[in-house]
């Protein structure tokens, strides 16, 4: 302690310097803008009730917590993060290196703000980027949920589209064949004449082919419509479940940096104090000089007196192994 109190300013220099560095760092940090989009999450919708979909979904987590967790997990995937960046129109910036996925992941996240409210937050140095990333995050997340929940109906819709093409071709072929046969074999002109039995059987056969082709086409068409309806239903359901209450907007003012600045300064100050303490301890370890009566007490040397420094005593000259003359600081009094 004597070492510190002997030259307190010297040992406080590291603390002051490091704290000053912290002030500089805190004041030189660039401004950041934050854009927040607010989603309302519903676990059940009226459409669910009507359609009977997604029944029996129960969880210990609130919908908001589940959604926020899911969003944040998805942000850790390259595919989702890149989709967010591309959806925000910042793909070129990512390719140029102005924006990295690491930055996007670190600064775009979701947080539950209640049981059913989720905030999708994006922080960026550019206010427009923040707004775009937040909006893209919401849209990409919705698309992800839609595509995951309606993936079965999508496949069915595509399948039936392909089938409809084939069936349409069969219907057209059967119709063309019937039309061609009828053109080649017109009905008898005279009343009372009938087609011979061969023509009647051929026409009936062509009609059956056409009817069967039409029936297959109609069934495929109905199925495809059902699939399309299911997709629309899921999409509408998800839109209803994830309703955007507040669209992200481009912030006009940067984030309040006071807290961050104070945090930075305090961290540096603590670091500086630690450095000062370490320097005191280091000097204490290496400097074994006797500084106080307490140092002698530690050695078991009973301190009987502490004599202050006095120039008249001439004790300030350096200690040495070799003897030197002992001089008096007082001049000789001349005899009168």
């Amino acid at each position: 302690m004597f070492i510190f109190f002997g030259k307190p300013l010297l040992f406080l220099i590291p603390a002051v310097v490091v704290t000053a560095a912290g002030v500089y760092v805190a004041s030189s940090e660039p401004s950041e803008y934050q854009s927040i989009g607010v989603l309302s999450i519903s676990s059940e919708t009226f459409l669910d009730t009507l359609s009977g979909t997604r029944t029996g979904t129960r969880s210990f987590e609130t919908p908001a917590v589940t959604t926020a967790r899911q969003f944040n997990e998805l942000m850790q995937t390259d595919g989702f993060a890149i989709s967010v960046v591309n959806g925000a129109g910042l793909g070129d910036q990512r390719l140029n290196g102005e924006l990295t996925l690491l930055d996007v992941r670190a600064n775009t996240y979701a947080a539950a703000a209640g049981d059913t409210i989720v905030e999708v937050i994006s922080v960026a140095g550019n206010p427009e980027w923040a707004q775009k990333l937040s909006a893209s995050g919401i849209a990409t997340f919705k698309n992800f949920v839609i595509s995951s929940e309606a993936s079965g109906t999508d496949v069915a819709e595509i399948f039936y589209d392909q089938q409809l093409t084939t069936y349409k071709l069969e219907v057209d072929t059967a119709s063309d064949a019937l039309q061609a046969y009828l053109a080649d074999h017109p009905e008898p002109i005279l009343a009372g004449d009938e087609r011979d039995i061969g023509e009647q059987l051929e026409i009936e056969k062509l009609n059956d082919l056409l009817a069967r082709a039409q029936a297959r086409f109609d069934l495929a068409f109905d199925n495809r419509e059902a699939a399309r309806l299911a997709t629309l239903q899921s999409s509408a359901d998800i839109d209803q479940r994830f309703r955007t209450l507040d669209e992200p907007t481009a912030p006009d003012v940067p984030l309040s940096g006071l807290t961050a600045m104070l945090t930075t300064i305090i961290m540096f100050a603590v670091l500086g104090i630690l450095v000062s303490m370490a320097s005191v301890m280091l000097v204490s370890v290496f400097d074994r000089s006797i500084y106080s009566a307490h140092d002698l007490d530690i050695l078991g040397a009973n301190v009987r007196a502490v004599v202050p420094r006095s120039s008249a005593m001439k004790v300030d000259h350096s200690r040495r192994l070799n003897p030197q003359p002992v001089t008096s600081s007082v001049p000789i009094r001349s005899a009168s």
Binding site: M1, F2, F5, G6, P8, R288, S289, I290, Y291, S292, A293, H294, D295, L296, D297, I298, L299, G300, A301, N302, V303, R304, A305, V306, V307, P308, R309, S310, A312, M313, K314, V315, D316, H317, S318, R319, R320, L321, N322, P323, Q324, P325, V326, T327, S328, V330, P331, I332, R333, S334, A335, S336
Partner: protein
Amino acid sequence: MSLEPRRDGAGIPPPPDFVGPTGPPQNDALIDRSISETAKHGRGRSSEADNLQVWVDDHLIHQSPPVVTRSLRYLMARGDLPGRLSLTSSLFGEGVTSMSRSLASLIAYDWREPTCWVDLNWWKSTHDAFETAPFRQTISSVVEGRGSVTNLPVATSVPGLSMVAAGEVPAGSRPRLARSETLASLLDDLSKSFAYIVCDLPPVLASSDAVTLSGLTDGFLLVVQQRSTSSIQVRGVLQAMDVVPCLGTILNGSRSSLPRWMRTSNEVWALGN
């Protein structure tokens, strides 16, 4: 014994006609001579008791500033000093001579006890002329047979205080002198005439003779200069001197910036707030 300093006589410069002891007094007359000589010239004159000055003839041998006398009175307050004590240090330059002279002055002045300061430090061989001039007889001359022990003590301006100079001893002869019977009997003779013998010893780490010389006394005080002496050196001295009772240490040249609550009692006494 009282801590109340005497206000009469001692500590002041002697008058011009003060010449100190000249004749060869007998042992029993040593103290009488020194006291009477001083009293004859110093009594009745006002002085600063806290600023003791030791004059021999016209030579100012030593002075104790008020801060030093105040601190040493703290040491003397316990009153447990043996009749024959020595002061030493780890190395040269820690203020042993000054401390021993001040302590001897205060014992003589405050306690009104006949006291003799004895210089046994031949290692500070080159004395200034004005400091050695008053001492016509020295220990070395007595040991060499060129003088008598009765002529050794030189009365000073401080009543009851006498001083004995070491003289010049060749380096090769110092260990032998330190262990000689002559020196031991010389100190015994002085002890018969003085209640207190305060010896100035060489540094322990500079000369092994310090241990031998301290064995001629009843205990030693270790003078430690603040900020210079290391704890390793102090520990080494204490280990080397474990054959002689250690009366304690004197922290010399102290200057503390510690808060009052962190200071020891004698630091508070000496250094104030």
